[in-house]
């Protein structure tokens, strides 16, 4: 391998730092989710998050990264195989010749996005999916759903990117995708036994708060890192991430205060996440003031969205659709309305900024295409897996808890000198 000396060191460092931060979001998500399930299932859901790190890393390096970022094979649908095994990275990635960061750094950075998107699905399948079924699900889903979508949007040679779709850090590929994929899986998987009648309250809200804090910290890498260089757009994306998270937090708890009298800590954590979901596609394209407003709206909209499942009776256990799917849609619509080239010359002009209808319509198209594609393909994958290996654990395992049935472990053993048994 020849080592190219042409890559910008600062930009490469920025992207590598971003990659480490985005990786850290997955254990953060494990804590966020882990706190929200009952104590008998906490290891199960955390393991679903951790296994995604192992599985998706291997699949991304082997083939997935190449299928996303190699030059398009035709029609903007899928990349080639020249980058399989992380080979052929001595040249800039196709369509990204203006980026000065080392292409391998970009590939590793993008790998972390695929990992957390797969891990997000576990929030819907919590408390009842067989561990081997979850692994098979995310492996198939990675190739059949994530890889095509990421190529369409993240590779400049993809058909949506070619249409002029902007998505700064994955409002479509990560957020809308995870939300609607999760909805498809839970419709096949079915509700948890006893839901919604039985009490399934979070076993440790403090764990969820810590997890939300780690997600928040990591999201700076997720959004600001997506500039792929140390520049003003990165600074704007970083700032907007903080602003939208803060007002998302406020929006959610203000809603709760008026709706149910008590502002909750879990609501504060969820609101911050909702704000960051919504700002993800917009981070480097809208003004800080717009980010403040978007976060506030996202906090309220997602707080409403997570309550919808009780009416329609789909058991999206930890609200992947309500927070990520709906928050992502809101972000894409906002981008179509409020993007401005005063922030980012390479960006767009939204409908309210005088950009005309075309840009708004392609943003909407990308959002709808992502939702429909993710839902449809994931539904078929889930159905096939359910008919072959079976998705659900037995009734007894569900009652005992998946920590024991799937992993032969217990999360908490309160043993002291006075321990009984």
């Amino acid at each position: 391998m020849t080592i190219a000396a042409t890559w910008n060191t600062a930009d490469t460092l920025w992207v590598l730092l971003g990659a480490a931060l985005v990786l850290f979001m997955t254990p953060g998500l494990a804590l966020f989710y882990g706190g929200m399930v009952r104590s008998k299932n906490v290891l199960s859901i955390m393991m679903n998050n951790f296994i995604a790190i192992g599985v998706i890393t291997v699949l991304f390096v082997a083939l997935g990264g190449s299928l996303i970022f190699d030059a398009d094979l035709g029609g903007g649908l899928l990349g080639g195989l020249h980058l399989a095994g992380l080979s052929g990275l001595s040249h800039a990635l196709p369509g990204l010749s203006s980026v000065a960061a080392d292409p391998m750094a970009i590939m590793v950075f993008q790998m972390m996005f695929a990992i957390i998107t797969a891990a997000l699905i576990s929030g819907g399948t919590a408390d009842r999916i067989k561990f081997p079924a979850f692994v098979a699900l995310i492996a198939l889903w990675f190739f059949l759903v994530y890889v095509p979508l990421a190529h369409w949007v993240f590779s400049p040679t993809g058909w949506l990117a070619h249409l002029g779709v902007l998505d700064f850090a994955g409002g479509t590929v990560v957020e809308i995708n995870s939300g609607f994929s999760t909805l498809a899986v839970v419709l096949v998987l079915g509700k948890r036994r006893g839901w919604p009648g039985e009490a399934m309250a979070p076993h440790s809200v403090p764990l969820s708060l810590l997890g939300a804090g780690i997600l928040w910290f990591g999201w700076f890498g997720f959004n600001a890192g997506s500039s792929l260089g140390v520049n003003h757009v990165a600074v704007v994306a970083f700032t907007n991430t903080q602003l939208a998270a803060a007002t998302g937090l406020l929006g959610w708890v203000i809603f709760e205060k008026f709706k149910e009298k008590y502002p909750t800590t879990l609501g504060a954590a969820s609101g911050a996440v909702a704000g960051m979901v919504a700002i993800t596609p917009c981070a480097g394209f809208i003004t800080p003031l717009a980010a403040l407003g978007l976060g506030l709206v996202a906090g309220v909209v997602c707080a409403v969205a997570v309550r919808v499942k009780f009416r329609f009776r789909y058991d999206d256990s930890l609200d992947v659709l309500g927070v990520h799917g709906i928050g992502g849609l809101l972000g894409m619509v906002t981008l179509g309305l409020l993007a401005t080239k005063s922030v980012n010359a390479a960006g767009g002009e939204g409908l309210f900024v005088g950009g005309g209808f075309h840009f708004f319509s392609v943003e909407l198209l990308a959002a709808v295409v992502t939702a429909v594609f993710a839902f449809t393909v994931t539904y078929v994958i889930a159905k096939v897996l359910d008919l072959t290996m079976g998705l659900r654990v037995s009734q007894e395992a569900e009652y005992t808890g998946l920590d024991l049935s799937e992993h032969a472990e217990s999360a908490y053993s309160h043993g002291g000198s006075g321990r009984i048994g």
């Binding site: 919604p196 709706k259 149910e260 909750t264 969820s270 997570v306």
Partner: protein, 112 residues
């Protein structure tokens, strides 16, 4: 011999222990309990999902006493446990057929 059982609010346990020790009671057993009486439970809300928590945390105190001290000690526990609000708990007394001190094998009143 009698067994006095008191289910009380957890925060009065320390006061009851002190009062009973002062009255010369030599031992007691305390366990965590959950239940409801007229106090009922409460509602918790997580992301709009409402969960009824039917059982309220309580402490269950058990002491074995001789017949002649029962009324005095029950009164002591009740007085100490009373806050005057709903959920103060209950005290009841049951006959004991026998008691055995494990270390010495003493039985009956000698084992109290």
């Amino acid at each position: 011999m009698k067994l006095i059982v008191a289910v009380v609010k957890p925060f009065v346990v320390a006061k009851i222990k002190d009062a009973l020790q002062e009255a010369g009671v030599l031992g007691m057993t305390v366990s965590e309990a959950h239940g409801f009486g007229r106090q009922r439970g409460h509602t918790e809300v997580y992301r709009g999902g409402e969960y009824e928590v039917d059982f309220v945390p309580k402490a269950r105190i058990e002491i074995m006493v001789s017949d002649e001290r029962v009324d005095e000690l029950v009164a002591l526990i009740v007085d100490t446990a009373r806050t005057g609000t709903i959920g103060d708990g209950k005290v009841w007394v049951m006959p004991l057929a026998t008691t055995v001190r494990v270390r010495t094998g003493e039985r009956g009143a000698d084992a109290l």
